[in-house]
């Protein structure tokens, strides 16, 4: 190498420089092509997957604030907050989390009121309020929840989350009334089938739910 360089140092340097510049340019162009959005969403989803929901949420919020064109960041802000609300027992915390989730959903619902995934999250927010205070909220919100699932089903009848979440909510009511849960269990079965064939629009589009559906299926038996 050294000899070669000595033989024609200027030429070699030029070639090297070209290569390096090309690599650098290639990398940077690749980075910008992949885009901040993809990188950010990927990172946030990864954090969420690792159970770091505070960090994930913070990143989703940042993306939501910067990207007004995609509904996904706010969708995840709503979803993560709603899941957190289901998990906590602290009364004040629950209202704060659900209000935050509601705000995020409101922003996106305004832009597109016919997005089945958003309708599901809205129904989940209502369900969390019902779980929080059944005596007060059950009467008031059970109707709207069913209406939301009805609307979502009309828009996306083959969306596994729509089918599963609707069935899961109905099971709660059926258990209370002592009515047959078989039709809902059949729907959960159907949802599990749909999860296998469902193709998210993008890699960041909602794809969760299979595990929960499988647990619900076990409870059916």
């Amino acid at each position: 190498m050294k000899t070669t360089m000595n033989q024609n140092p200027i030429k070699t340097t030029k070639v090297m420089t070209k290569i390096i510049v090309t690599i650098v340019l290639f990398i940077s162009s690749y980075v910008s092509a992949q885009g901040q959005f993809e990188q950010g969403m990927g990172k946030a989803l990864q954090l969420w997957g690792q159970g770091k929901s505070t960090e994930a949420l913070a990143l989703f919020e940042r993306i939501a604030a910067a990207e007004k064109s995609s509904w996904l960041p706010n969708y995840y802000v709503a979803l993560v907050n709603t899941n957190a609300a289901f998990a906590t027992k602290d009364k004040e915390q629950v209202s704060l989390l659900l209000n935050k989730a509601q705000k995020a959903v409101d922003i996106e619902m305004d832009k597109n009121p016919n997005n089945a995934e958003l309708l599901v999250v809205q129904a989940m927010i209502h369900t969390a309020w019902i779980a929080f205070d059944p005596m007060t909220n059950g009467q008031k919100l059970a109707g709207p929840v069913m209406e939301l699932y009805g609307k979502a089903k009309a828009i996306a009848p083959e969306n596994p989350r729509v089918v599963f979440c609707k069935a899961e909510f109905e099971i709660g009511g059926a258990k209370f009334w002592g009515t047959d849960t078989k039709p809902m269990c059949a729907q959960i079965e159907k949802a599990i089938g749909l999860f296998a064939t469902f193709k998210p629009e993008t890699v960041f589009s909602p794809s969760w739910g299979l595990e929960r559906a499988q647990i619900a299926q076990k409870n059916c038996k």
Binding site: A58, L96, M135, M146
Partner: protein, 719 residues
């Protein structure tokens, strides 16, 4: 060459990714670190989350001045413009958000119910599931502290005030005739079905400058913004039937309901203490139309009610019973608009019109009266920040009352009045911190009938001394035109507004579904109307020299968490009040006041039975009455009043409810007071007659069926 490459690389990367590091620490007002805060540059992805010590650090490729945003659930979001090249190891202090759930609120005098209420004393469902309330909003409110149970009247009596001292508002607009028509000693009910309202705020004193023409209390009812779905509701009851329908469209919705009540079959089955010629019958209907604009909501509410009854009432002064045949027609219309515009401005406006017509035959005499009442209101509210809000507005009350009295000889006596009241009000709300809040307001009104201008200041503030407890204080002056029974004689008499001042100190503790309230108050009355005859008449001499006071203590405890499926509340009120008004010969405690009142309300949900069972016990100590056989005025005291009521709601299926209730289960023989003869008998004694409830017990059975697409909704909230 190596150097060249390195330099080149650096140059390229610097050009592409010139990086600055931003670091620091997030703390709260006390300097404690805040973990989990989201710190980022606005409009970019560059940011970090603070760790346990509150520290954060991240790099950015942006340059120059950028907005650094720091947000965390319970704190106010902080935004600062920084130079990214020089922001290292800086401390960011977060202020506690005053909109957070635990910020102080002014609670003196106010008992709230509904979705928006932060500390709900009553829940919307309570109105209908409280035993003994029978779907009557007023009866449910009578289980709250500060109210008196006046069984022979049925209206709201608040803290030593007469029933007409409470003014009712629907969506902020006055309801001139909130109660159904009735006559002596037959209790009335609230005119409104609880079905259409989802927020109730009941103030027992010290209320906002927005509300006028009320000496003691305001009852604020808010109609639902949006019904949940299309549905049809059918009710079959032992006393009548009802039907309702709700239609919902994209931006608007319409609810209509109608009820027919006829007490004849019930009264045939269960004997009454009342001699009816024709029992109470009514046909009523309500409708609400709502339209959602992008920035506001328009509501139109209309209600009509036609009712009649014909009864023979015993009277100690008449050998024969007196026949009262009453026909009442009532119409109420209310339209309101609430919306936001511009930079944090909110507009609320509306108007109402109420018409009431009574035709009353008293034996052979006849009384016909009409009241037309309108209210217009316009209010603006500007939020300067989360902490400072200013509202101001104007309202206009118009009342026209006319009464013809036709005696059996055919002579007609006509009395009436027209009153116009124009008022302006302004109020400022300041949250100094999460712990301190104040509200200062002023109301000025001009009344053309009385030819006077009144100015009424209102001040309240609140201090939160610990996480779950706070004090609040309210002071205010209140004025009200004397009641129609007096001012209808305005042709020959001059009246002035009646006046009251309230001083209220409130303590509230609220934690995990448990609420404790203690409130003490002092109320001073002046300018009350006095007259010199047995009842107010066209030839009575009236003056405004009456006065009085009321002071007392109200306690309230509600707990829905300690025992699973059990929700209960206890209200206790102590009152010391005296008045010299009407034709009183001295300052005494009026006959509608019991010194001690206690209500216990329980609701127990039995999941296996799909049932909610409730008990309500109301107790009041004896009430004063005047015994003309004694020299001292108003010296008698009735025995104590007690009534235990029971209800049972059984959910047959998600949409069918069977409902059963009994009031005064124990058939306690309650006596509300006595009616004395005008003249003594031959032995020189004034005879008397007991005033008692119309029946010892009241039984009610109803079946409620909701038909909707989702098959989930039911009418539990209507019961």
């Amino acid at each position: 060459m190596k150097t060249t490459v390195t330099l080149l690389c650096l140059l390229v990367t610097t050009l592409l990714l010139s990086q600055s590091t931003i670091s620091g620490k997030v703390v709260d007002e006390k300097g404690k670190p805040v973990a989990g805060a989201n710190i980022f540059l606005e409009g970019t992805y560059d940011g970090a989350t603070s760790n346990e010590t509150g520290s954060f650090s991240f790099t950015t490729t942006t340059t120059g001045n950028q907005t650094l945003v720091v947000s965390f659930l319970i704190y106010e979001t902080s935004k600062t413009v920084i130079n990214v090249a020089a922001f290292v190891d800086k401390t960011i202090k977060l202020k506690e958000g005053v909109t957070a759930l635990d910020a102080v609120i002014i609670t003196a005098g106010t008992l709230e119910s509904g979705d928006k209420a932060r500390v709900s004393v009553l829940k919307p469902l309570d109105i209908v599931t409280t035993a003994g309330s029978a779907g009557n909003i007023i009866a449910a409110l009578q289980t709250l502290p500060g109210t008196q149970t006046v069984g022979e009247d049925g209206r709201l009596f608040v803290r030593g005030g007469e029933a007409n001292e409470t003014q009712t508002f629907v969506d902020g607009i006055r309801v001139a005739q909130p109660y159904g028509a009735s006559t002596n000693n037959l209790p009335t009910r609230g005119r409104f079905s609880p079905f259409l309202f989802n927020g109730i705020s009941f103030s027992t004193g010290g209320y906002s400058a927005e509300y006028g023409e009320a000496l003691s209390s305001v009852l604020l009812l808010n109609t639902q913004d949006e019904p949940d779905q299309n549905k049809t509701e059918i009710s079959l009851m032992t006393v009548g039937l009802g039907i309702g329908n709700t239609q919902k469209w994209k931006k608007s919705s319409l609810s209509v309901n109608s009820n027919y009540i006829n007490l004849a079959p019930y009264q045939a089955a269960i004997p009454q203490n009342v001699d009816w010629n024709s029992p109470f019958q009514s046909l009523s209907g309500e409708t609400v139309y709502r339209y959602n604009f992008n920035n506001g909501i328009l509501k139109v509410y209309a209600a009509f009610d036609t009712s009649k009854f014909d009864v023979n009432q015993e009277n100690i002064n008449a050998p024969e019973k007196i026949r009262v045949d009453l026909n009442n027609n009532n119409f109420y219309f209310n339209t309101s608009y609430k919306g936001v515009f511009g930079n944090n401005w909110q507009l609320t406006s509306g108007l109402s019109y109420g018409y009431s017509n009574n035709k009353i035959n008293l034996n052979i005499d006849k009384v016909v009266n009409d009241e037309n009442a309108a209210h217009l209101k316009f209010k603006l509210r500007k939020s300067f920040s989360e902490r400072i809000k200013l509202s101001f507005g104007a309202d206009y009350f118009m009342t026209q009352f006319n009464e013809d009295f036709r005696d059996n000889s055919g002579s007609i006596f006509t009395n009436g009045y027209t009153s116009n009241i124009a008022a302006v009000f302004s109020e400022i709300d300041v949250l100094f911190s999460k712990k301190w809040a104040a509200k200062v307001g002023l109301r000025a009104a001009n009344n053309d009938l009385l030819n006077e201008t009144t100015i009424a200041p209102r001040i309240s503030f609140a201090y939160k001394m610990a996480k779950n407890s706070q004090f609040s204080f309210a002071y205010g002056n209140f004025t009200q035109t004397p009641r129609a029974d007096y001012v209808k004689y305005s042709n020959n008499n001059r009246f002035e507004s009646e006046k009251a001042s309230h001083y209220i100190l409130n303590f509230q503790y609220n934690k995990n579904g448990k609420t404790f309230r203690a409130e003490t108050y002092y109320k001073e009355y002046s300018n009350l109307v006095k007259f010199d005859t047995e009842t107010p008449l066209y030839n009575s001499t009236f003056n405004n020299s009456g006065l009085g006071y009321a002071k007392g203590l109200d306690l309230f405890w509600r707990d829905g968490k300690s025992i699973n499926n059990l929700e209960y509340w206890v209200s206790y009120s102590y009152i010391d009040t005296e008045r010299d008004y009407k034709n009183f010969s001295a300052q005494v405690t009026p006959s509608f006041v019991a010194d001690h009142s206690l209500s216990i309300v329980t609701k127990y949900f039995i999941t296996n039975w799909k049932s909610q069972i409730g008990f309500t016990n109301s107790y009041s100590s004896g009430r004063p009455y005047n015994n003309p056989n004694e020299t001292k005025f108003m010296n008698g005291k009735t025995k104590v009043y007690n009534s235990l009521s029971f209800n049972w709601a059984y959910l047959l299926s998600p949409q069918k409810i069977l409902y059963f209730s009994v009031s005064n289960v124990l058939a306690t023989q309650n006596v509300f007071g006595y009616e004395y003869a005008k003249n003594p008998n031959s032995a020189g004694i004034y005879n008397r007659r007991e005033i008692t409830p119309t029946a010892d017990r009241f039984f009610f059975v109803g079946f409620f069926w909701t038909i909707s697409n989702d098959k989930k909704d039911n009418q539990l909230r209507n019961l």
